[in-house]
Symmetry: C2
Subunit: 470 residues, 2 copies
């Protein structure tokens, strides 16, 4: 590409004064646990503070580092824009998010686990009066560290994927490697391999079932699923990040239901901007956790991981929003997917988590015929862009050879269910083309052509709807 022609989109402007105003707010949250009276869950305040910092750093660093990424060859044209060949957009900037995320999680260690802060807190609260020795949460620290390791490996592998461009089939097992630290520590700590049986099956199997080695398989598959399901639902501006964002917010809301709520502890909810949910959290409050210390701890653990994730996703979405100034690359999908897997495994609510993945599961199911070779799968299955109307149309896969009977049957069933659109040969009636089997093309088939921004919004709505149902 000749350099005279190379332009770049100007970075989206940031409302600096407003954002700098957030710095003292964040600082207050970080310092709050060290001030009298110590709140009930001191580390949670710090976590909120850190999340605000994460949000700000992402907002500022993503555009600031864009040039460096482009220079290192990590760039790509935006497939669905008229300027796709002219303007390189920095790729793999999910790396920035992941780095900020992991760095902050590391810096958070002393706040969550330090003897000093814990003792300080216990001396000043009425909860633990009379208890002189607080047991150091060694176990939780190991779990926390192994989660960090998994996240870091996911980042690393995601970035390697971006640099070396690993083939699709080789990618699938990558999250399993990343989940090794989780599994190892779980094993070394002689982790619980019991699973709570869903209500309808309890009369047959009892409340708990010991899965044994199967549990480890289940855990690694969960991480594979969470990672790849976000990754294959990519292609349009903002799709990966907005999914991750909505799932993370859903997990947070779910966690908040389990926390012990004194009346003065409703503040963090406001920060998330979900006014309507405050009432909800307040009412259910004490009921869900049944005073179980362990449940509270697990959901705190989940909050510590999810709040900064929401923050970096929000910060990144600002730049990734249509028209995108930055692409997340595989790195972001890997990290967010792994974060959900970590939380689902370590906080023991993987089944609830799966409910938040309804759109991804739907996408995976309708993708199956293409993923497993029944229907030809082109390299990119993103919707087709029409420069004249600026609208997106369903993209199609061409059936060059005579399709087999199973392929025919699958496609016809799916067309009958409205999942795909077939283009038949005018004379023979043989299938010539089928719209690609992804949720994005499905929306376009059902709702008609629309522009890219609207498509992301539809996707986000479906994700929110999925979470509400969950």
């Amino acid at each position: 590409m000749p350099s005279q022609k190379m332009h770049s989109l100007p970075p989206r402007p940031l409302p600096r004064i407003l954002l700098l105003g957030l710095v003292p707010v964040a600082a207050w949250f970080v310092v709050r646990p060290l001030l009298d009276p110590v709140p009930a869950l001191p580390a949670l305040y710090t976590s909120v503070g850190f999340s605000i910092f994460a949000f700000l750093s992402t907002l500022y660093l993503v555009p600031a580092l864009g040039h460096t990424f482009v220079k290192a060859g990590l760039k790509g044209g935006d497939l669905l824009k008229p300027y796709r060949h002219e303007i390189p957009i920095p790729e793999s900037q999910g790396l920035v998010c992941a780095s900020i995320y992991i760095l902050l999680l590391m810096l958070f260690i002393p706040f969550a686990f330090s003897n000093f802060i814990m003792n300080f807190a216990s001396e000043n609260t009425s909860y633990s009066e009379g208890i002189s020795v607080v047991q150091f949460p060694h176990y939780q620290l190991s779990v926390y560290l192994s989660s960090l390791l998994s996240l870091l490996i996911a980042t690393m592998l995601g970035f390697l994927d971006d640099v070396f461009d690993i083939r699709w089939r080789h990618k699938l097992p990558i999250p399993i490697i990343a989940s090794i630290p989780l599994l190892m520590v779980y094993y070394a700590e002689r982790g619980n391999t019991h699973v709570v049986v869903p209500l309808p099956l309890r009369s047959i199997l009892g409340t708990l079932v010991n899965l044994g080695p199967l549990y480890y398989l289940y855990m690694s598959l969960l991480s594979t699923f969470a990672t790849n399901s976000i990754n294959i639902l990519a292609g349009i501006n903002g799709s990966e990040v907005s999914q991750a964002l909505i799932i993370a917010v859903s997990v947070i809301l779910n966690d908040l239901l389990y926390l012990p709520w004194p009346m003065d502890f409703r503040i963090p909810l406001h920060l998330l901007g979900n006014k309507a949910e405050v009432e909800f959290g307040g009412v259910w409050s004490a009921g869900m956790a049944y005073g179980s210390r362990e449940l509270v701890e697990r959901h705190l653990f989940s909050l510590y991981f999810m709040m900064p994730l929401v923050a970096v996703c929000l910060g990144f979405l600002y730049h990734n929003w249509y028209p995108a100034r930055a692409f997340p690359g595989d790195t972001l999908c890997y990290v967010t997917g792994m974060a959900f897997a970590v939380v689902g495994i370590q906080a023991h609510f993987s089944k609830t988590l799966l409910l938040f993945f309804i759109p991804q599961i739907f996408n995976f199911i309708i993708s199956c015929p293409q993923l497993f070779g029944l229907v030809p799968c082109p390299r990119h299955r993103v919707p087709r862009y029409d420069a004249d109307t600026n609208l997106l149309y369903p993209s199609t896969a061409e059936l060059v050879k005579e399709p087999s009977k199973i392929t025919m049957l699958t496609l016809k069933t799916m067309a009958a269910l409205g999942l795909t659109e077939l283009q038949l040969h005018p004379k023979t009636g043989a299938i010539q083309k089928a719209s690609n089997l992804t949720i994005l093309n499905f929306f376009l088939v059902r709702l008609g052509p629309m522009n890219e921004k609207r498509l992301v919004q539809v996707l986000m709505c479906s994700q929110v709807a999925g979470s509400v149902v969950a």
Copy 2:
């Protein structure tokens, strides 16, 4: 570079049968702790087995992945060869070593820390008869995990450095970021900030001194030093890896002195190929640890990290040896440096460690005038290659401007000490050129021009000599 001209060196041949013969040996070591009679230090056997696997994987994977690296743009010409412009050599292959190293360390977790294996061992040894509950080593697990995190961050940052080509001055603090998990966990665990005072000062300061926050500074500086000191002694085939290798072997020998030695436990030493040292280790055996369980544990910890490191370094050196088929890149320097720092910090023998870095310290000291701008510093300070004689000569830095008084004085003092060679203006007597101030150029100045292979050998000898003195 036109693709017709692009050749590549054929990978160095591997004696396959011999190497495949090592597989059962390694497997035996891994399985050995599970067989009766259980050895005294079961995990050590596994570690030896894993190290052999690490060695084999490195040997095979480095050449196998070379092509992928070149394709991704991670390549460089060998500066000191006649074919420097024709043949691209894969760069950053230290990434392969680092990945194998860290993956194996992760897989090692259950062997070192699992309840199952520990109980199994304790039931079958006479050591712990009568003790029914073995305390789970939570603390050690956290320490181990935080070390892994640090290593992984070092790998990541090293690789980022290779991809984005970070500037020298920005690189310096990178190891500090990598040491954050170490520091955080150390703090959270309310780590010991006492330091054993060296013998001559004990009468004044007592045996232990509490450094407090200074200790954390000391720890992060140690990692910075270990990493960068290996990194700046780079430039000729095999120099980085061989330094790391020799330091790691020295650390292992030092560790072995502290282990409890029953007579049948001398085997591992033979594996390292140091026949002469067996006697040595045997004689000192019981004396050094004084039966302290903690000391033994610390040195075991160090062995767990150092043995696989020796293995991957050996495997890589095979391909990096003159003439090199693969370059380590910054990744390897970062990882090995971090590994030494981790071991020095966690096993509490950082002062002994520093003694093994004598050549690096020497290199750093003589480099100072160039690093801090007293003497001009060209981008590359590797020795100058002469294609006709195939010998290396000291490279020089040209003093374009009139040097300041301090520069003059420094250079003249160093020349008087034989550390550099000056080239004076024939008439005015002003300094025109000075040989670059590195240990490699120092060798060439003192010992005369030599070829690259011999220079590495001289460097390795000096490193061994340093360790022996230590």
